[in-house]
């Protein structure tokens, strides 16, 4: 029979010291069984899409530093109609202008990818509220999921709670206080950020940030890093905090 363990002052102290907030007290081993199964970010390669490898590498560095996730810092580019897409469960598409409709083969490939567990972040770098890139994203979403709306993700969505407590998304700009997303059953495999997230994370060859976020500068960049970490955690853990036992704990802490 399992032993029942009572709560004593010493145990409570050790519990708080060593395990509260999921913090372990021992150094971790830090490699997966093969680099390909480590977490990485791949960019979608379209004729008009932007390439911001340095932004994602910077972001992955922060993910590695802040969480227990093991990362692969390579940022490959993949095309939508290739089987290679399925080697990269987390992908991003960055743009600041309209992109042409992708092929039917690409749509079918991407739909299977998202339906079976892939994640796509559409990052609008235009700095405009209703940009041509956003219109192209909406058209892509309609073709992928004709019956599912690309809708605002409100404050109770898990993406705002997956690691940090966030009130709103941010990036290089502060254009919209909400992410957009497509809800597929209980998960949101496609998310749009119109605030140029990658723009806030880009660094040059010397490791200096390229853009100063507006209007709040470095504070806004810090929030952008937190946004990326939340997106990564959400893509990996989805809505696990909605499991019954977690809901009870979160309600107790009044943080849900």
């Amino acid at each position: 029979m399992p032993h029942n363990i009572g709560y004593t002052g010493r145990r409570r102290f050790l519990k708080i010291l060593g395990a509260c907030m999921g913090i372990a007290s021992a150094p971790r081993l830090s490699w997966a069984l093969g680099q390909r199964s480590q977490f990485g970010i791949a960019e979608i390669d379209l004729p008009t899409s932007l390439n911001r490898t340095s932004a994602w590498q910077r972001g992955l560095f922060e993910v590695q530093n802040s969480t227990s996730i093991e990362i692969n810092e390579d940022v490959p580019r993949v095309v939508l109609d290739s089987v290679d897409l399925f080697n990269h469960p987390f992908t991003v598409l960055i743009g600041n202008s309209a992109f042409d409709p992708v092929s039917t083969l690409a749509i079918e490939n991407l739909r299977r990818y998202l339906t079976y567990g892939g994640f796509l972040l559409l990052d609008d770098a235009s700095g405009r509220r209703e940009s041509d890139f956003l219109e192209s994203c909406k058209r892509l979403s309609r073709r992928l999921f004709p019956n599912l709306p690309l809708a605002a993700l409100h404050g109770d969505h898990s993406v705002y709670r997956s690691f940090f407590l966030l009130d709103q998304p941010t990036g290089r700009f502060q254009i919209s206080p909400q992410l957009l997303g497509v809800q597929l059953n209980t998960i949101t495999p496609l998310i749009v950020n119109v605030n140029d997230l990658s723009g806030a994370l880009m660094v040059d060859d010397a490791g200096q940030y390229v853009h100063l976020p507006v209007p709040d500068g470095d504070f806004q960049r810090r929030e952008s890093i937190k946004m990326l970490i939340n997106l990564v955690l959400y893509a990996l853990t989805s809505n696990y905090k909605h499991d019954q036992v977690h809901v009870a704990e979160l309600l107790r802490r009044d943080e849900f």
Partner: protein, 537 residues
């Protein structure tokens, strides 16, 4: 006739007209018109008055005949309605006073009623059901259900006018009379209650009722609440038994009215119907020992399969396993992911910024463990969390498996030897032996089916063995593996590495299973099984 029958016969006569009203009025109209025509033709003639009188009489006779007069005579004698007597036949009616039990005194009253009450007197005896057979004092029932007795009277005499319903009872109801007060029927006659009681107080401890809800879910707690009565402000020992074995015992403090209740928490481990009973030890002074015992039958059903997934680091492998399990509506999945470790503290985030919850490992692997059907350790290193409790908590898991639980270990840099599970209680239950020097490999490979894997249901991907074998060759390659020392003799390897060998020189096991007493264990020593999920796409 009245002398012959011995009763007064009353006769009632009534004259009624059988013809329809319109026919009567039509006859009257025709006669009137005929008389009018006759009078106008004979006006001025002698003795016309006499003639008209005679014709009028003939007309009245014709009209009367046309109306078909009928004389109805009712002959009979008035009778009184039945009187129904309901006698409580529960065990509490066996309480004696001056040598006579309550039931004996109730029978005396019944006999007096049968003698004195006019009309038929029908006597029924009830406990949980209704009967006209007179029970003996030693065979009285266990239950007094007043509401059911009154409903039975309502059903049996529906549509009749009863002279009255007489209820003879001591008033000790062991069913749910309070709950059914609102649904008691309107009886077909006035209700009189005769209460049987003694002048001097009696000593009786009893179980009034036991609430269970009727069914329970396997491995989940449910309550059995016994409502008891006894001497006010005293204590009472209440026992819960299963198969004549006492499984729990409570001492209940009774209130000023002598009432109290004992609540037992039960966690059933097996599915089926099980008989439990609640019992109060019989005191030598207790005049009704039979109400110190209350049997209940509880049906235990399986709820969803409860799975605990514990993962040492968010990863693709963890994500796809979670998605896979979450898609199955019969699985109740609880996931715990270690999002942050000691090394991550250097990132200088304030705890106010974080949305993390504690990992309740103590609770999970002690009191909650039995509520799960399956525990999955996915790339989870126990040491940073279990610390000085490691031996105890890992021992709990091993014991849980031996008692019928399921356990799966999935590979990664925190699993098997890399998670330092060698020489622990977990190694004892795993299908593989640990303790190898070369603990992992990052070489990609496609696992192959073993002879056991070709026929084992776990690795059947298609309806035929040939199709299943072919399907395995088409699956994506794995990115690496955890090495193991060897496979235990009572385990079965289902998938193996195509070329690598374990320390025993045998093909390296990749997927193996083992039965450990009542439980089952599986070892999958790769962390890239997520690639199999995409093979469907």
């Amino acid at each position: 006739m009245e002398w012959l029958l011995g009763v007064n016969i009353e006769t009632v006569h009534a004259l009624e007209w059988a013809s329809p009203t319109w026919k009567v009025f039509l006859g009257i109209a025709l006669v009137a018109l005929s008389l009018l025509g006759l009078w106008r033709g004979r006006r001025g003639m002698p003795k016309v008055g006499l003639e008209m009188l005679l014709w009028s009489i003939i007309g009245v006779v014709l009209v009367s005949m046309n109306a078909e007069p009928t004389l109805i005579s009712e002959v009979g004698t008035p009778a009184d309605g039945k009187t129904v007597v309901l006698v409580d036949a529960s065990a509490s009616m066996s309480v004696e006073s001056n040598g006579n039990s309550r039931f004996d005194r109730a029978q005396d009253i019944v006999r007096r009623l049968q003698k004195d009450v006019t009309g038929d007197v029908e006597v029924w005896y009830f406990d949980g059901s209704l009967t006209q057979s007179v029970p003996s004092v030693v065979n009285l029932g266990h239950q007094t259900d007043l509401a059911q007795g009154l409903r039975s009277v309502y059903d049996r005499y529906l549509g009749q006018d009863l002279q009255g319903v007489i209820l003879i009872t001591d008033g000790i109801d062991r069913s749910v009379l309070e709950d059914s007060m609102g649904s008691l029927p309107v009886l077909p006659g006035p209700l009189s209650v005769i209460q049987m009681h003694e002048q001097s107080p009696i000593y009786d401890e009893s179980i009034v009722r036991v609430d269970t809800g009727g069914f329970a879910f396997q491995r989940l707690n449910f309550e059995v609440t016994a409502h008891v009565r006894g001497t006010p402000n005293e204590t009472l020992t209440v026992k819960l038994r299963k198969s004549n074995n006492v499984v729990n015992e409570k001492t209940v403090s009774l209130d000023s009215t002598g009432s109290g209740k004992a609540t037992f928490m039960i966690r059933p481990l097996e599915v089926g119907r099980f008989a439990w009973d609640v019992e109060i030890p019989v005191d030598a002074r207790d005049v009704v020992p039979s109400n110190n015992y209350f049997p209940v039958v509880i049906k235990v059903v399986r709820d969803e399969v409860r799975v605990l997934q514990v993962c040492g680091s968010p990863s693709y492998d963890q994500k796809f396993l979670r998605l896979f399990l979450k898609e199955d509506p019969s699985v109740d999945l609880i996931s715990f992911f270690i999002l942050r470790t000691h090394d991550d503290l250097s990132s200088n985030w304030s705890s106010d910024e974080l949305s993390l919850i504690a990992f309740p490992y103590e609770k999970l692997f002690t009191e909650e463990l039995e509520t799960f059907d399956l525990v999955i350790f996915q790339n989870f290193n126990y040491q940073p969390f279990f610390t000085y409790q490691s031996e105890e908590l890992l021992g709990n898991i091993a014991q849980y498996v031996r008692g019928g639980g399921g356990f799966v270990m999935i590979g990664g840099d925190r699993s098997f030897d890399l998670g330092e599970y060698g020489n622990t209680a977990i190694e004892d239950i795993l299908p593989v032996n640990l303790g190898t020097l070369e603990q992992s490999s990052e070489e990609g490979f496609v696992p192959t089916l073993t002879e056991s894997g070709k026929v084992h249901p776990l690795t059947q991907l298609s309806s035929t063995t040939e199709e299943s074998q072919f399907a395995w060759t088409q699956l994506p390659s794995m990115d690496g593996y955890n090495r193991i020392a060897s496979v235990k003799s009572d385990a079965a390897t289902l998938l193996q590495h195509p070329t690598a060998k374990d320390d025993a020189g045998k093909p390296l096991s990749i997927l193996s299973v083992r039965e450990v007493e009542k439980g089952r264990v599986m070892a999958l020593n790769v962390d890239s099984s997520w690639r199999w999920s995409y093979s469907e796409a």
